[in-house]
C-alpha cells in the first residue's frame, strides 16, 4: 500500500459553528494505481486532496484527526521541513485552473528548473535538459522555445500539460490531480486524460484523480471513492459501480447523466443541494434529499460497511449480501 489515509477529519473554524469539511475519510492507493474521488462541488474532495499534502491553511483550517501514511510514514507527524522535501518529489499535485497555476512573472522554463533545483543537487544545464525532456514527453512541441515563454503566451491545454510536466519533474510516486480537466474544452480534456494514463503507466506512478465528472472516471481509473457531504459513502471498482451503484446518492448521480441514444426526456435532478458543512443534518447526511429515506436515516449515522464482496457502502437501506460460495 503506497498511501493509506485513516479516519481523516478536517474542520475550518472552531466551536459549534466550525465547518467540518472532511469527516472520517479513509482511503488507500496502491503503487501505480489510479483511483478516483468523486463528488459534487463542496463535498470536501478538494480539501481531502489538499490535506494529503498538508496544504490546508492553518488557521482557519485544521486537520483534527487521522493518519496519512505514505509508504508507512505518517505525514501528519513529521516536521514541516521533511514535509517540504516530500512535496513535489514524493507527492506532486496539479490544479484545476491552469490559467493561474503558473506564476505570471517567470517563464515556464524558470519555473520548471526551479522545481528541479529545489529537490536535487544538479547543475543548471542538467535541470534545463530534464525540463525540456519532460515537456517533450507531455507532448509540447518546440519545448525549447516554450521554456522561454511566459505563462500567458500558452493556451490552457498547453499550460495544463506544462503543469503536469512540472509535477513529474522529480518522479513522484503519487500524483494528486485536482479536477485537472474541468477548465478545459472537451477535446483537450480527452487529450489530457490520455496523457495522464500514459504517463502513469510509463512512470509507474499512482494517481488520485479528484473530479465531479463520472465520464472522466469511467475512462481513467480502477477504483472509485464516492464522497458526499464530507464523508465517503461508497467505494467500488469502477465496472461494478457502473453496473450497480449501491448508495442512493450514487444512483442519483448516474441518473443525472444524459444517456446517448436514449429517449429524449428531462434530466434527472437530485432535489435539494449539498448541506452546509457547518450544519450537517443528523443521521445520514443524505437523508433530506434521499428518495428512499426511512425514519432510521435521520437518527443514526450509517457505517461504511462491506455490503458486497470488495465493495463498501454507507447506507441503512442496502442489504448485506455475502459472497456466493
Amino acid at each position: 500500500m503506497l498511501l493509506e489515509v485513516k479516519n481523516l477529519s478536517v474542520q475550518f473554524g472552531e466551536g459549534p459553528r466550525a465547518a467540518r469539511a472532511v469527516n472520517n475519510v479513509s482511503l488507500s492507493i496502491d503503487a501505480g494505481e489510479t483511483v478516483a474521488l468523486v463528488g459534487e462541488s463542496g463535498c470536501g474532495k478538494s480539501v481531502t486532496g489538499l490535506s494529503l499534502m498538508r496544504l490546508i491553511e492553518t488557521p482557519p483550517g485544521r486537520i483534527t484527526s487521522g493518519e496519512i501514511c505514505l509508504a508507512g510514514q505518517d505525514l501528519l507527524r513529521i516536521p514541516l521541513k521533511d514535509m517540504r522535501k516530500i512535496r513535489g518529489s514524493e507527492i506532486a499535485m496539479i490544479f484545476q485552473e491552469p490559467m493561474t497555476s503558473f506564476n505570471p512573472v517567470y517563464t515556464i522554463g524558470d519555473q520548471l528548473i526551479e522545481t528541479v533545483l529545489l529537490h536535487e543537487k544538479t547543475t543548471l544545464q542538467q535541470a534545463h535538459a530534464r525540463a525540456e525532456d519532460l515537456l517533450t514527453e507531455v507532448g509540447i512541441p518546440a519545448p525549447g522555445e516554450r521554456m522561454r515563454q511566459y505563462p500567458h503566451e500558452l493556451s490552457g491545454g498547453m499550460k495544463q500539460r506544462a503543469m503536469i510536466a512540472m509535477g513529474l519533474l522529480c518522479n513522484p510516486q503519487l500524483l494528486l490531480a485536482d479536477e485537472p480537466t474541468t477548465a478545459l474544452d472537451v477535446t483537450v480534456q480527452a487529450q489530457i486524460l490520455d496523457l495522464l494514463r500514459e504517463l502513469q503507466a510509463r512512470h509507474n506512478m499512482a494517481v488520485l484523480l479528484i473530479t465531479h465528472d463520472l465520464a472522466v472516471v469511467a475512462e481513467t481509473v480502477k477504483r472509485v471513492y464516492v464522497m458526499y457531504a464530507s464523508e465517503i459513502v461508497e467505494h467500488a471498482k469502477v465496472e461494478e459501480l457502473f453496473r450497480e451503484p449501491l448508495h442512493p446518492y450514487t444512483t442519483g448521480l448516474f441518473k443525472c447523466l444524459p444517456k446517448l441514444g436514449g429517449r429524449r426526456e428531462e434530466l434527472h435532478v437530485i432535489p435539494g443541494s449539498v448541506p452546509n458543512p457547518s450544519d450537517f443534518p443528523s443521521g445520514c447526511h443524505f437523508h433530506p434529499r434521499c428518495p428512499l429515506a426511512k425514519p432510521i436515516c435521520s437518527q443514526e449515522s450509517p457505517l461504511l460497511e462491506e455490503k458486497r464482496p470488495g465493495r463498501l457502502c454507507a447506507c441503512h437501506l442496502v442489504e448485506k449480501v455475502a459472497a456466493k460460495v
Partner: protein, 412 residues
C-alpha cells in the same frame, strides 16, 4: 495538436504589463514633463562638481598641466559627507559606462559578456576612488588666473560649495549694485548666504543631499514595509493581527514630531542618520499596501502550486508573491521620495537637519528666518527647488498611479 509553433502571439497580446503602463503614462503630458524634470534633477545632482566647483578642470601653470578637479572628484577633501560625494561621483562614471556596455554588447551580439563586463568596469572605476589620496589643496586658482599667473578651464560656476568669504548675505549681483561698490569681483547670480557662500552653488550641491535623502530613505522605508507587509499578508491569523495593529499604532504617531524627537537626542546628525530616521518612521503605507496585495495574490493557484512543489514559506513570499505585488509600491515610492525631500528640508529649516557645512535647501531657507523680507533671495531661491521637486515627483507618481489603474485605462 492545436498549436502553431511558428506563429508568435499577436503584438497586442505580447505587450508586457510595463509596456502597457508606459504607453498609458506617456499619454499624460504633465507626467512626462514631471519625468523630464526628475531626469534634469538627477543630472544636476550627479554633475554638481562639474557645474560648480572652485578648482579648475585643467590648470596650466609655468608650462605644467595639472588636473586639480580630478583629485577632488575621486577624493573629496572638504566635504563632510565623503561617502555621499564619492558615491555620486562613482555613479556619475558608472551609469554612462553601463549604458555604453549595454549598447556595445547588444550591437556585437555578445550579451553573455554583459554581466562580466559590467563587473570588471565597476571594479576598474572603483580603483581610483581608493587609490587617490585626499589632499587639502588650498591653491587659490581663481586668484592666480585673475592675476595671469596661470590658465585654467573652470567649471561653469567657479565657486566651491564650502568656499566662504564672498561677503555675508550679498544680494544677487544683478539686482543690487554691490559689485560696483568695489569690494567684490565675483558674480553671484543668486547672492550669498550668511557665511558668505554662493547660494546657487549651494543649491546645486544641495540637490545631491535632497536626492540622496529622498531615495535612500524611501528605500529603507520600502524595504521595511515590504518585509512586514509580506509577512503579515502571507501568514495571516495572529501574526497578521499583531503586525497590522503595530502598523496602525505606528501610523498614529505624528511622524514629523517623532523624527524631531529622535533627531534631537541623536549625537551626530549625518545624512545617514537622518535617512535612517525618516526611513524607519515612514514604512507604514507601504506595509499596508503590500499586505493587501499579498492577501489578494496568495489565494491564487500558483502560490499553492509553489508550496505543493516543496518551496519554503520564505521562497514563496520573496520569489513568487512579491514580484506580483510590487507594482503599486512603485507609486508610493514616487510619492514617498517627494515627502522625504520635504521632510528633510523641514528638518534642516528647523535646524535639525544635516550638520553644517553640508549644503541643504532647508538650511539655506533657515538663514532667511531672521528677516525674510530683507534676505528675500534666501527665501525665494532655495524655496523654489523644494517646491519644484515635490511637484515633479507628485506629477510622476500621479501619472504612474493612473497608468496602473485598469479602471482608468483608455482603450488601446
Amino acid at each position: 495538436m492545436n498549436v502553431r509553433p511558428d506563429v508568435k502571439t499577436t503584438p497586442n497580446a505580447s505587450q508586457s504589463y510595463w509596456g502597457m503602463v508606459w504607453q498609458q503614462f506617456s499619454r499624460s503630458r504633465a507626467s512626462m514633463l514631471g519625468l523630464f524634470f526628475v531626469g534634469l534633477m538627477f543630472a544636476v545632482a550627479f554633475l554638481a562638481p562639474v557645474l560648480a566647483e572652485k578648482k579648475p578642470l585643467i590648470w596650466i601653470e609655468d608650462g605644467v598641466t595639472t588636473f586639480p578637479l580630478i583629485r577632488e572628484f575621486f577624493a573629496p577633501s572638504e566635504a563632510p559627507e565623503r561617502v555621499l560625494e564619492t558615491g555620486y561621483n562613482f555613479l556619475l562614471l558608472f551609469f554612462p559606462s553601463m549604458i555604453l556596455i549595454w549598447w556595445l554588447t547588444g550591437k556585437y551580439q555578445v550579451k553573455k559578456l554583459r554581466k562580466w563586463l559590467l563587473l570588471v568596469v565597476a571594479i576598474l572605476l572603483l580603483i581610483p576612488f581608493f587609490a587617490v589620496q585626499t589632499r587639502l589643496n588650498t591653491t587659490p586658482y581663481r586668484q592666480l588666473a585673475a592675476e595671469g599667473q596661470g590658465e585654467g578651464v573652470f567649471p561653469l560656476i567657479p565657486y566651491g560649495p564650502f568656499e566662504q568669504g564672498f561677503g555675508n548675505r550679498i544680494p544677487p549681483t544683478w539686482w543690487s549694485e554691490s559689485r560696483a561698490e568695489g569690494e567684490n569681483t565675483t558674480y553671484h547670480v543668486l547672492g550669498t548666504d550668511n557665511a558668505g557662500r554662493d547660494v546657487l552653488v549651494r543649491i546645486i550641491h544641495g540637490a545631491r543631499v535632497s536626492l540622496a535623502v529622498g531615495i535612500v530613505s524611501v528605500f529603507v522605508a520600502t524595504a521595511i514595509g515590504i518585509f512586514i507587509g509580506a509577512i503579515a499578508g502571507y501568514f495571516g491569523g495572529r501574526i497578521d493581527i499583531l503586525l497590522s495593529r503595530a502598523i496602525e499604532i505606528m501610523m498614529c504617531f505624528p511622524t514629523f514630531f517623532l523624527i524631531l524627537t529622535i533627531i534631537a537626542i541623536m549625537d551626530e546628525r549625518s545624512i545617514l542618520n537622518i535617512v535612517l530616521v525618516i526611513g524607519c518612521t515612514s514604512w507604514t503605507g507601504v506595509a499596508r499596501l503590500v499586505r493587501g496585495e499579498v492577501l489578494k495574490q496568495r489565494g491564487l493557484d500558483y502560490v499553492t502550486a509553489s508550496i505543493a512543489l516543496g518551496a519554503s514559506s520564505l521562497r514563496t513570499i520573496f520569489r513568487h508573491l512579491l514580484p506580483n505585488s510590487i507594482a503599486p509600491v512603485l507609486v508610493s515610492i514616487t510619492f514617498g521620495i517627494a515627502s522625504s525631500i520635504l521632510m528633510e528640508s523641514g528638518l534642516s529649516f528647523l535646524g535639525f537637519g544635516v550638520d553644517i557645512p553640508t549644503a541643504s535647501w532647508g538650511e539655506l531657507l533657515k538663514q532667511a528666518r531672521e528677516a525674510p523680507t530683507i534676505y528675500w533671495w534666501l527665501v525665494m531661491f532655495p524655496g523654489a527647488p523644494i517646491f519644484f521637486t515635490v511637484t515633479i515627483y507628485n506629477l510622476v507618481g500621479e501619472g504612474l498611479r493612473d497608468a496602473m489603474d485598469p479602471r482608468l485605462r483608455l482603450q488601446i
